[in-house]
Symmetry: D2
Subunit: 281 residues, 4 copies
């Protein structure tokens, strides 16, 4: 299992979120409270958008807590939209091509969870990836295959629908192979403009996921907190577990739900896997 | 492109062959003479047999020339049969799961060369891998896919035939996709008892490959060389390029040929890719 | 802080001790129970003796738990005397030259603990290292400086005395610089024939250290345990924390004590730092 | 030996200089023409200034040519003043703390060359480092010791004088120890505002060093080159070897010379090591 953080809002230094909070993602790399493991030391990654259309991605195979380059990059990189991920491998190799976020053109994708019995159904899943995308798969994780399946099923046009079709497909393949609970996931994806976050598992007992309260509400609740004056109204953070203990800041994403972070009003909707029977032979 | 060395004979310290010769494999990692590149610095690997049935494999992502662990292992490991490989990536990621030799059960496999347009025909090749083997592919190289195709086509029962079928299949897929010269390879494989070495390319202009003259002949040619008294009669080395300049030691493997290193008489035969039409849909 | 294991006895596969026990050193790399940190993921090392006089050393900068090369080496290396160490950095860089065990000629050295305010007194300590040894210091840890000070103070001739002088010297330098409790340590060292293990701290509240009960006694206590029939009478293990819960197997090394593991009778003695006034200018 | 590049001028993307030119620094990592070795694959580093006072430093232990993170950082980082270095180790460990540029507060330092017999005189050189600076030395290279000696001798106040004193001191220590030609160096250092580049060796046969012709002159010589319209008048590049073959662009720094790159007129002066007799006991 893993931990991740997705940020959208006023441009911030990455280190302000990755290192500064009491229970920052770096702290979670050694002392996660809500994960299956307390340690997330099997590599890490950050992906951020700046001037360019395609995001930058920096990944490392060592633990995040001791990586000096990550600290340097975080202290000198300012971005209005970035993803960060710390990995706890469930068996696949510790290598950069298995580190999240994964990138395809302007899209980023990161995941916490797993596909059950992935080793046995991997081939069936990969065969369903669009042939024109297949060659871009570089690593060996279930997470990356989920990304390319979502791209195959229309991520660029209809992100929630594509993820619902991907999950429906994985569940169908899993069930046909006798797997009880085929998928467990919290997922974030973005095109650099909007962000989508998903919480779902076949057993309806999903990994933890939290989103930050709207800045306007927080300013009313904590009128004396100067930090809240510095961030823009549309700032939003989605995280595997809260970054601190300030009351009223963190809200659990409900089971089987996805959210959209965007200009204007953010949204939250039920997540319903779609049957994708036609793909099954 | 890459360089490799395969050894079979009296047990030797790995360092005697990897570090000691004038133009050792370590020297070739910086100063290859016959390769496409002089530098082979994109990872390395050694695989060796000892008491156990399955071989040990040690791989690293840095250049071999500066790896201290490789030097330690080589100075303390004695083996009667081992493979060593230094890698020059043709684009795929530098990571341990892309380093040769690849292992499946008691088999090792290493390769110098490439499948042309691999990115585009990778899916078609991988789909042909036996479903029960598919999940064991960990890296992203053409070399590993060639290994799993050979396993699919019967490597364990008939190594030369399986490799001929694998090459025939790759050539058929390539040609159907408009690739002129689909494959370029020198390959070594072993089950820990016998060793097979292949030199072939679709254009019949293959990467260099050499084998050592029989020890008995060498003793007659160089009666004063004490080193030759220490090695057993059946000792044989196959290498991408000669380890030194001693006259009479190194012989070029002919174009489109494979050799078998085994107890008793070694053999050399023409290599003829087999059409594997039935696998193509 | 760190965890370590020292083994002396019948030749064993390293994996039998590093991976197999319920609370093996690999398990301790993620779930240490008695250390300051539960995670020891900042590199690792093993050093072992075999045929050669000088030991082999294999070190890595990633966490031990996910290192595939360590698993390979451990599964194929048999030794009658070896050291293994997993590191939790107290701030110095995560790099191979900071991984234990350190080696000088036929000697190995590993350490759990720290020198207080090392950054500030490092120069004074290093200047006391014998000039002929100074150039061999490769890393930046307090542990390596302790080793070279012990070598300077006669480790090769009188290991307990040399370590007592080293500790006396570090305490004197520390105290002169206003450091309350200058040293905290459990240390193991060996010349490949005998092994010495030390438990000491200036505050007399030292890190945990355990040694295994003699095999003869264990056979009487556990007459039905077949594993005990396979190991020789002189087998002894010293560890930062017990490898399992079998009653009667593990004994705490008393505070301010050192032990000698050797052919014949093992020994245990009080550890008394020696004033080394003459070295202080 | 190594290769390096120092840039000062209009803010540019790092990749424009590290990857784009025909004989870029990345190309030099595999195909250096003027170095002792053609391969510079033992780690790399970049240091750059942006908004912050202290520079960012990103370093890696693998070869620059295959490092994906370097490519990402270079494609997304814009800076008016940066250093880049590719390393060919002369024996010291391949680790980040041995990668250039070295940093102390707002200063960067990088070096190509070596101190002869460094292993033997290292202690004498390190003892001369200011005690308040000693603890900041993290690696094991001669280059880093040169930096801390220069800081000790006044780099922050008088860079050319400090480097002349450092070299004078190294030569005195070397000669007293029977070393014929104690130092060989091209060095660049900067405080983020000005840049100093040095070419010197005790044998007066120094490693290659080149500086770019002034932009104004280049515009006159190449009136049709649109790239020259995009860079500011004060842009200057100093490199171990030219980045391309355009006539009139690259000028050799004369033997025993240093240059100052600064706002207003750049300068070039003779470099004369200063005797630093008082430091020698």
């Amino acid at each position: 299992m893993c931990r991740w953080l997705a940020y959208s809002g006023s441009p911030v230094l990455l280190e302000d979120l990755l290192y500064r909070p009491a229970h920052s993602l770096i702290d979670q790399s050694q002392h996660a409270r809500m994960g299956v493991e307390t340690t997330n030391g099997d590599g890490f990654g950050v992906g951020w958008y700046a001037e360019e259309i395609a995001p930058a991605v920096f990944r490392g195979v060592g633990p995040a807590w001791s990586d000096r380059n990550l600290r340097e990059i975080a202290a000198h990189t300012r971005s209005p939209l970035f993803f960060a991920h710390i990995r706890a491998s469930t068996g696949t190799a510790v290598q950069e091509t298995n580190c999240h976020p994964f990138r395809y053109e302007r899209w980023l994708w990161m995941h916490n969870g797993s596909i059950a019995s992935f080793h046995f159904i991997k081939r069936e899943l990969m065969v369903a990836v669009d042939p024109s995308l297949f060659g871009f798969i570089e690593g060996s994780t279930d997470s990356e295959v989920m990304f390319y399946l979502a791209l195959t099923f229309g991520l660029a046009e209809d992100p929630p629908g594509a993820v619902e079709r991907m999950v429906g497909f994985v569940e169908a393949v899993g069930q046909r192979n006798g797997v009880d609970h085929p998928i467990q996931m919290t997922v974030a994806t973005t095109d650099g403009s909007r962000m989508w976050a998903f919480r779902y598992s076949s057993e309806h007992h999903s990994r933890s996921l939290y989103y930050s309260t709207s800045v306007q509400t927080l300013r009313q609740t904590h009128p004396d907190n100067p930090a809240l004056e510095l961030v823009s109204d549309d700032t939003r953070i989605v995280v595997s577990e809260p970054l601190g203990d300030l009351p009223g800041v963190w809200n659990e994403v409900p089971e089987s739900t996805y959210g959209i972070i965007q200009q204007g009003q953010d949204e939250m909707h039920p997540f319903r896997p779609q049957e994708y029977a036609s793909l099954l032979r």
